[in-house]
């Protein structure tokens, strides 16, 4: 896979994720006790031996840059190629904010042109999955496709009505796996092939696609493919089904569900079948005091548990003190649940301290407490 470069388009902050993305990009959202969303895309790429990865940043990218640094943890701090952080910038043609993937790619097109790999894999940071792209490339080459899009089955009965479905894209495929059409939004069709926002094509074709779409005022990459390739008919766009665990994290319920999915052994082993790299914080192992109780939970290093933890995900350095109870909750880094406090169905951002009392959210609608808040 040395001949493939990767581009990660880190999506704009999202209102549906409320307080959690108030001060950080979706890509930097903490998940599963120690990771950030972008770790999954970066790891998928480096596990595929991709050596050149560009990360297009938008708003609130401070915590994202802090997290990925020079790319050491992903072995991307190399002399040739490696990690390229592409923050927004302003020129006469470039406003410094992006209206979509096409727009963002056009601003950074010189990076794409300057790279010397034959192929490019483009992905966004809403879809969480962990894979290697070797078989995708093999199939792409063997089938003679111009573009390969990853999709996953998303049956109608599983779809929630609340989330921002307008951006969801579904693929209409023929028997051979060729894409006939792309439908946007979830309302008006019966298609189940949910686009994961992962595209493989030749680097030069991506440059062409972006330049054509920009000339027509198209910002969405799906629309660009539809207008530039599908409607013209002389390009082969194919779908590649991804059968592993996939979750689109785009709202508080989906964020909560993703973390809780990881409490299931089979699901966890599916997502973490190949290693997921992340920034190392050199925490001490978690310590359980005498009388501590923890069941069906994931706990990161640095936690000190003296109370009770059930069905929860605890990030690094969380304290659950004597008599405290944490149930069905997600507690981020360095939060402190003091003596005899009871919390249930909550999401605490980093550094939240609860001094006393109870905080019980509703099933399906967890209470979200913002960063560094003391109650």
């Amino acid at each position: 896979m040395k001949d493939v470069m990767g581009i990660i388009y880190t999506t704009k902050d999202d209102f549906a994720l409320r307080e959690l993305t108030a001060s950080r990009a979706v890509a930097a959202l903490p998940v599963v006790g120690r990771y950030r969303i972008i770790d999954f895309m970066l790891s998928s790429m480096v596990n595929s031996d991709i050596k050149n990865v560009g990360v297009i940043m938008q708003k609130n990218y401070h915590s994202l840059m802090d997290h990925i640094g020079a790319g050491k943890e992903w072995d991307l701090h190399t002399k040739n190629d490696g990690l390229f952080i592409l923050p927004p910038f302003q020129t006469r043609e470039n406003q410094g904010t992006y209206q979509g993937t096409v727009d963002a790619l056009r601003s950074n097109i010189s990076y794409v042109k300057r790279s010397n790999q034959e192929y490019v894999i483009l992905c966004s940071t809403y879809s969480v999955f962990n894979t290697t792209f070797d078989n995708v490339l093999d199939e792409h080459v063997a089938s003679g496709a111009d573009v390969t899009m990853l999709y996953t089955k998303y049956p109608i009965e599983d779809r929630s009505s609340s989330s921002n479905t307008a951006q969801h894209c579904y693929l209409d495929l023929d028997e051979e796996g060729a894409v006939r059409n792309i439908e946007m939004g979830a309302e008006h069709h019966e298609l189940e092939n949910f686009s994961m926002n992962v595209f493989l094509m030749k680097r030069e074709l991506l440059v062409l696609l972006v330049e054509q779409a920009h000339a027509k005022g198209i910002y969405s990459i799906h629309q660009a493919i539809k207008a530039g390739f599908l409607d013209r008919g002389n390009y082969l766009v194919r779908g590649h089904e991804y059968t592993g665990y996939h979750k689109r994290v785009e709202s508080i319920p989906s964020y909560y569900a993703f973390n809780m999915d990881m409490l299931d052994e089979a699901t966890r082993k599916d997502l973490f079948a190949s290693p997921v790299f992340t920034k190392v914080r050199d925490e001490v192992p978690a310590r359980y005091a005498k009388g501590a109780v923890a069941i069906n939970s994931l706990l990161a290093d640095g936690c000190v548990i003296e109370g009770r933890v059930e069905n929860s995900v605890l990030f690094r350095g969380v304290r659950v003190r004597k008599g405290a109870v944490v149930r069905n909750s997600i507690i981020m880094q360095e939060s402190d649940i003091r003596e005899n406090v009871e919390v249930e169905h909550v999401i605490f951002d980093k550094g939240v301290t609860i001094r006393e009392g109870r905080l019980i959210g509703q099933k399906g609608y967890p209470i979200v407490i913002k960063k560094n808040f003391t109650l």
């Binding site: 120690r34 992340t278 192992p285 501590a292 109780v293 290093d301 000190v304």
Partner: protein
């Protein structure tokens, strides 16, 4: 090459034969400790935290695992242009080439390495001890007192003194006499195996020692006594905090247990003096529906479905449902199968304790040991004090 005021030389070549099966395939400094560390993380992190940025690691016995672990020195912030960590195995020259014959000979053979940095002081460390120490503070004391050599010492219980190298000192903590494992100790100040030398002085003594065919080429047996005999200034530097020589199965077990006592006798939670380690980057640990974990340390990649009491579980260890681990140390990647009972034991790396095995016992019984990469068959028994590599049936 940039001149350095002080560089460190870490003696990591020892076999550690008293650790039995644990050092069959790895050198003692590479032995896992405290859930996610290895013994060598302690001196390396101390160097990094003390801003000593050139560390030579002298290896000889089973060095592969240790070399891989040290790598570029990145976990300890020692992957530097102007310094770094260097693995120094014995090497051939045009005239000769031989194994390291002793601690002093090992340093002697690396005089050219040290000379590259033209240091005023050389810190000699060993890869056998668990402690957190600011070497800069010791160096400052050495400089302030104008000593030729400063040796870190700590008081040990009088009854234990006969098993240490004991320093007899005057009222100003100048060392007057050194006795290796004295039967009737005159002092209870034990050498911690941490030395600061003026390099020009040490260099001369190393060369003289090398010229003496009857010497054991050892710091404790030869270099220090020779310096004392010549009336050089040797100072004792007192260190009162936690320090443990983990040279035996019992002391390795004790030292792990010191992390989980309440309050911990050895506290790793001080963020101003972090201990760094090469991180396997695994998923946070999972505790199952029926798990019971108390008084224990558990780290990334562990899966606990059974019971773990007063134990240290290392990265990727699994305790299956119905298994009991009590007062034990389970090293990375090992699996305790359903129905097994492991008490007062050390389980090596990537070992499988089969279903219904019984390893060790409770009370004051001696520590049982199962080696690394061992598969203990269903129902096997390993008695207290026994070592098992899975090949012969215990009992």
């Amino acid at each position: 090459m940039q001149k350095k005021q002080c560089i460190a030389m870490l003696l990591a070549g020892g076999q550690g034969s008293r650790l039995g099966l644990l050092t069959k395939k790895v050198a003692k400094p590479a032995i896992p400790f405290g859930g996610k560390y290895r013994i060598i993380d302690f001196p390396l992190s101390n160097c990094s935290n003390s801003l000593i940025d050139v560390v030579g690691v002298l290896t000889q016995y089973q060095p592969l695992e240790l070399n891989r672990y040290i790598g570029s020195g990145l976990p300890w912030d020692l992957d530097l242009n102007k310094g770094g960590v260097f693995v120094l195995p014995p090497y051939m020259t045009s005239k000769s080439g031989e194994w390291y014959r002793g601690t002093a000979n090992a340093i002697y053979q690396n005089i050219p390495f040290i000379e590259q940095y033209d240091p005023e002081y050389v810190l000699i460390l060993s890869g056998d001890h668990i402690y957190k120490m600011n070497y800069r503070a010791m160096l400052s004391s050495h400089i302030a007192r104008g000593a030729d050599c400063t040796i870190a010492v700590r008081p040990v219980p009088w009854e234990d003194a006969p098993s240490f190298g004991i320093m007899n000192t005057d009222e100003e903590d100048n060392i007057t006499e050194f006795e290796e494992k004295p039967k009737e100790p005159k002092s209870n100040l034990a050498s911690m195996g941490v030395y600061v030398f003026n390099w020009s002085v040490l260099r001369k003594y190393l060369e003289d020692d090398e010229a003496n065919p009857n010497s054991h080429n050892d710091f404790g047996k030869n270099i220090i006594p020779a310096m004392l005999a010549d009336g050089l200034g040797l100072s004792a530097y007192r260190f009162e905090d936690y320090w443990k020589d983990v040279g035996t199965i019992r002391s390795l077990w004790d030292s792990n247990m010191d992390l989980i006592s309440d309050p911990p006798r050895f506290n790793l939670y001080d963020k101003s003096w972090r201990i760094y380690a090469r991180n396997p980057i695994m998923v946070p640990h999972y505790v199952g529906d029926k798990a019971c974990v108390e008084g224990s340390m558990v780290t990334e990649g562990c899966e606990v479905y059974g019971t773990a009491l007063r134990s240290v579980l290392f990265a990727g260890a699994t305790v299956e449902e119905g298994a009991l681990v009590e007062d034990s140390v389970v090293m990375p990647g090992s699996v305790i199968c359903s129905g097994a009972v492991v008490r007062r034991s050390i389980i090596g790396e990537n070992t499988i304790i089969g279903a219904d095995c019984v390893v060790g016992d409770g009370g004051d019984s001696e520590i049982a040991l199962v080696g690394s990469e061992v598969v203990l068959e269903r129902g096997s028994v390993v008695l207290p004090g026994q070592q098992s590599d899975g090949r012969e049936e215990g009992a």
